[in-house]
């Protein structure tokens, strides 16, 4: 096994995540793209942990998974709140911070 395969895959996933955040307007797709980018970094960390043969990288991945769970809870709560006030999942409808503040 060559570690470069893992690096190519992680780079591909991170790029797909960036493309999803930049080009889509659905709030859920943006949220899942952010998660995809975080997960690709998890893959890089796990690969380096295996390459060096010690567990520190894996522990960072475990902590990252907990941080991803926290991020997901907050993001979903915000999506629910924005959907209640705007009746739309379009990110263009909440492009101004003052509207977001009114929604909260």
């Amino acid at each position: 096994m060559n570690p470069e395969y893992f690096f190519i895959l992680a780079t591909l996933l991170f790029s797909i995540g960036i493309v999803g955040v930049v080009s889509r307007r659905n709030l859920f797709v943006i949220y899942m793209s952010v998660e995809l980018m975080l997960s690709s970094i998890n893959l890089v960390l796990a690969t380096f942990s295996r390459l060096h043969g010690d567990m520190h990288g894996s522990v960072i991945v475990l902590i990252m998974i907990a941080a991803i769970a926290a991020e997901a809870a907050l993001f979903l709560a915000m999506i629910v709140q924005l959907y209640r006030s705007k009746r739309s999942l379009d990110s263009n409808d909440c492009s101004q911070l003052i509207q977001t503040k009114e929604a909260l």
Binding site: N2, S39, L51, L62, A72, A73, S91
Partner: protein, 173 residues
């Protein structure tokens, strides 16, 4: 014996990589949110398989239990309970044009990231005894990483309180 193992590992890797990249591509290309979430679930399951391929059995379990079992199932439940109709979704008529343009713009960054990762020139070697086991993971977590672990517990508590405060219905309504 060694050659057969390498071929087996490579084929497992490519099958998982197919699911991972196909799932994430489907996630950003589907119009319906529920289909996006299902392809993302597929991608996260394949990522758990990648952790198993990297001899990290505990991360495999944690990925399935937390990322797939909790986070994505929670997203699916929110998507289903919002029940957004077609006219509540954004109408992205130029979606594929935007995707292609932003992919071209992202290519230089991807090359930079790949070069930076690949410049380490490390190779996979035989691991030490017990690598990836729960015992070694717990030992590392509770000796060198105690403070981050405690901080993460506070972060989770704060996120829980924040999520409840944001999503709560106002009493006046």
């Amino acid at each position: 014996m060694g050659r057969r193992r390498v071929v087996l590992e490579l084929s497992i890797f490519f099958i998982l990589a197919l699911f991972l990249s196909g799932g994430s591509l489907g996630m950003i290309l589907f119009k319906q949110t529920l289909y996006s979430a299902f392809s993302f679930l597929l991608a996260m399951l394949a990522l758990a398989g990648m952790f198993a391929l990297l001899d990290n059995s505990f991360l495999f379990l944690a990925q399935i239990m937390v990322s797939v079992g909790a986070v994505i199932v929670l997203s699916l439940m929110v998507i289903v309970s919002l029940n957004a109709k077609d006219d509540n979704l954004p109408d992205e008529e130029h979606k594929f044009k935007w995707v292609i343009v932003s992919s071209i713009l992202v290519i230089p960054f991807s090359l930079l990231m790949y070069k930076a990762l690949q410049s380490t020139h490390l190779k996979f070697e035989e691991t030490v005894e017990g690598y990836g086991s729960l015992r070694m993971m717990g030992h590392t977590l509770f000796t060198d990483w105690v403070l981050p672990f405690e901080i993460v517990s506070i972060l989770l508590l704060a996120a829980m309180v924040g999520a409840i405060a944001i999503a709560r219905k106002e009493k006046s309504q």
